[in-house]
Amino acid sequence: MSFTPYTYFQCPCTESNLPTRRLGENASTEEEESDQDDRTFDPRAPRANYSLYPLEYLLYCEDCHQIRCPRCVLDEIVTWYCPNCLFEVPSSTVKSEGNRCTRSCFQCPICIAPLSVSSTEAPPEGLGAEHATQNGPYVLNCAYCAWSSKEIGIQFDKPNGIFAQLSKIQNGGKPIVTPRERRKDREERTRDTSGSTMNEDGVVEDLPGIMNLDPHELLDAESQFSNLKAFYQSQLADSSPASALGFTGEYGYGSPGALSRIMGLYTGGSFAEKKAKSKKGAMREAQDALEGLQITSPASEEKAVNRLLSEGWESTASAVQKKEQSYNTHFVSDLRPIAHLLRTKRSKRCRTCRHILSKPESKVQTTRFRIRLVALNYIPSISIKPLQPATLGRETFLTPMKPTQFLLTFKNPLFDNVKVNIATPASTPGRFSSKVTILCPQFEVGANTDAWEEALREGGGKGTEREKKRTKAEASEGQNQAEAGKIWERGRNWVSVVVEVLPASLKIEGPEFMRSEELKKDDGPLREDEDVVEIPVFVRVEWEADVAHDDTAGLTATSRDKEAKEKRELAYWCVLGVGKIIQD
């Protein structure tokens, strides 16, 4: 198993000392606060997991001058779109129709590959074959597992609007009565039977607009839910007392009737209670399928079992396939195509100052960003590699008790020079602590100017200057000896320094002097990832920036009074995952 060195940065959002007042413990909270500043960051602490991120994941707030991580930014949705057809869906449609694509985007229920619509007619031959449109019945086809909606008995009349057509057909071709149609039917019934009498079965004479629904119908889950919901709402409306303003109690706390109702509770007293009791009718339960009652018959279970026995294991749907379906399906022939879930484009805001950190364009096809304040453009990136190029095989492993040197390269993205200070505790936290020495804790990294700009500034001597730099670098490399206090190599906007690591031995039963305090207390076996050397490094970056001018810049450069330079600094913890120690 190979190990790639990593650098994670800690977001300051987890360090915030939110004052939690606990009575009688005032003194201790103060101690804690000062402790936190001195306490080194322990990457092995369980909480550290939540605050460490690679640099590419972090954003930077220009107003607060702080790093922001994915956990401390506020998300706002810019657009909803279907990842399959890239159609932008307005948020009102999402609220009413749901968060799936309502056009023709479906996934195969067997293998979740995208389904394509094709005609069942034979392809036309002869001249102009490519331009002839086909209007046979249409089916959905999976290009990957060769499933077709014919296998569940569903065909379509039109090639567009598959979602609507699909909602009206069951597997096997029989039409579904959609909840919307049921609702209309219910409304028609109540309007019609408010005057006339009804049979006990609930069957009304044939009137236009009313469907002949079977009171013992086997409903699917959606229809049953809508029937039950409508039934209970009507029951509540009948049985709950009408408030002073004539509204039923159903409207909740926000209505004007609520205030008078609540006032009535306090002032009305016994009078209101009597009124309430007299009005209250008994609530009953649903009586038939029209109202949402479904009686399970043992026969339906037997049918399923017989089917299983005859068709075998292959005909049952797997757990993964069942999870994607909205209804409880047991068999593969009951699976229905899955509509694609809509995806969102989000903009991110800083939690404290509400400044927008990242804002994508609302047009779905463009992947650009209108605003993009990423940490990569503000804080120096760190990369690690071993100083001695490793031999094959033993590449990423560290030998215990053998000092190994690593090269840290700091790349500066800012347009100003930065001074970098790095510090690390002498031994890494954890049971097996390796000794770490930074050979050059303080250095300056050049500005990220263009190569051309630098060349123009140098003027005629540019060729010789660069050559001089190169030979100097080569000289230090030729020595192969890292000196304390000196940087290893310098480039236009980067500097590399050497860090020496003495990996700890992973022996749990070793001589007493070799064991750390923690190991003495806890001598269990080696746990996962305890053999990875993680070095917490505290980085402090200082630079002088131009004061931000909000009004007209650029052209008025000459008319600016002074070049106000503001000293800025940023400090954060990083964790360098350097390598894995071999067990000896």
């Binding site: 293998c111 034979a122 392809p123 597992c145 060769a146 499933w147 014919k150 296998e151 292959e314």
Partner: protein, 187 residues
């Protein structure tokens, strides 16, 4: 600019072939071996396809498409007695990079990109072996099976086999116009 180095090895043996007159075989297709290679009518053999009859003969049916970098034929010494050759029926599409060592591939099969079919395997009619899928040595795959994903299988009951064969025939027609054929090199 260095000129191409000539290989020191002797050229590979040219196999005895029985090629139909209507096939399209690219110049850079590679036919090597000692056993017979027979290719049926209307078949298209792309350049850089490797037909290796060193260990057993190869018979390819009509209207087949053998794509680039595919390897047809036993790649290694078969255990046991002398094997029967590879038989590929009509209308079979062998996609790019597939390795076919099977004994018998049924009509209308599609062997997708980078699939591997083991020695002595038997594929039924109109099967579809998905990309990067493997069929073990000696395995018998029933008709109309679709092998996909992580070892998943299902039986395809869509009933559009004739349509698929028609599409293959159309594809062959188009490929014939695109690939210049040089059957004489292999006669």
């Amino acid at each position: 600019m260095s000129s191409k180095r000539q290989s020191m090895m002797p050229p590979p043996p040219k196999p005895p072939t029985s090629l139909s007159s209507t096939i399209t075989i690219a110049e850079h297709a590679s036919l090597i071996g000692t056993h017979l290679i027979a290719i049926g009518s209307n078949t298209v053999v792309h350049p850089r396809s490797k037909l290796n009859s060193t260990y057993a003969s190869i018979t390819i049916g009509n209207n087949c498409i053998i794509s680039e970098r595919s390897q047809i034929g036993l790649q290694g010494e078969p255990e046991g007695e002398e094997r029967d050759g590879i038989l590929i029926e009509n209308g079979v599409v062998v996609e790019v990079g597939a390795v076919v060592e099977a004994r018998h591939i049924g009509e209308g099969c599609v062997v997708e990109v980078n699939a591997r079919i083991g020695k002595g395997a038997v594929l039924g009619k109109h099967c579809k072996i998905g990309p990067l899928c493997e069929i073990a040595d000696g395995e018998v795959v029933p008709n109309f099976t679709v092998v996909f994903g992580n070892g998943m299988r299902r039986v395809d009951r869509s009933g559009i086999e004739d349509l698929k064969l028609k599409m293959v025939r159309r594809q062959v027609e188009i490929l014939r116009k695109l690939i210049p054929s040089k059957p004489d090199k292999f006669q």
